[in-house]
Amino acid sequence: MLSIEVLQDQNHSILLLEGEIDASNSIQLDESIRSLADNGAQSILVDGSKLEYISSAGLGVFMSYLEDFQENGISLKIYSLTPRVLEVFKILGLDQLISIFPDKTTALRED
């Protein structure tokens, strides 16, 4: 089960992910990010505090936007990942490619 809530905080769009992301529902994440970008979002923050599990299907979604967002000046930051979800990013070295922060405050501080 995955639920995605979209919140607006000043100039930031926050995606609050709750539950588990796998091959059955990663399209939900893809559509949420796509829709924010299509609607002109310049800063997307992903709150991972309630994300319990992510498989490569979900990681692949984040990876697929890296280049486009870099070209179009859209910022994508992930914060508050639980240790075991963060570990999955680390196994693949994605923590070096995607901006990941311990919490929202740190994510907002760094540009």
């Binding site: 599990y53 498989s55 490569s56 299907a57 697929s64 280049e67 196994i91």
Partner: protein
């Protein structure tokens, strides 16, 4: 004690697979971090089979058996689809995954990083993939 599950080839069955693995590995006293990682690796292989070998045909099935030994766990995954040998699959470069905007390919990297050994055999229409995780006893 035997630990087996059969799932239909639909992606929503992956949640059942995870629940089975969590339950089984907890009984086998595997540490939480290892439980999570081997569950992920087994799921990645099954997701590949469901999507690529079986095109999500729910009439088809995958059988998983967890075998526990004092120093290792063996996950035996059987199916009757088009053989997909992980060992033949060239692991894509991360940069290539990004530039081609591929949403796949990462799963196999995870499996190879998490598991210690991968075996594959295919005979008489049945494919067997064995994922082996070693633990220091």
């Amino acid at each position: 004690m035997q630990h087996k599950i059969q799932i239909a080839c639909r992606t929503t069955a992956l949640a059942d697979l995870r629940a089975f693995l969590q339950d089984t590995l907890e009984k086998l006293d595997i540490a939480a971090k290892d439980r999570h990682q081997v569950t992920l690796a087994v799921e990645e292989v099954c997701a590949n089979l469901i999507i690529h070998s079986h095109q999500c045909n729910e009439q088809n099935h995958i059988n998983l058996e967890v075998q526990d030994f004092p120093d290792k766990l063996v996950f035996e995954i059987k199916d009757k689809g088009q053989a997909f040998n992980l060992l033949d699959y060239e692991v894509p470069d991360l940069k290539k995954v990004i530039s081609e905007k591929r949403k796949g390919g990462l799963g196999i990297i995870l499996v190879k990083k998490i598991m210690d050994e991968i075996e594959f055999e295919s005979k008489q229409g049945t494919n067997i993939c064995r994922l082996i995780k070693r633990f220091r006893s």
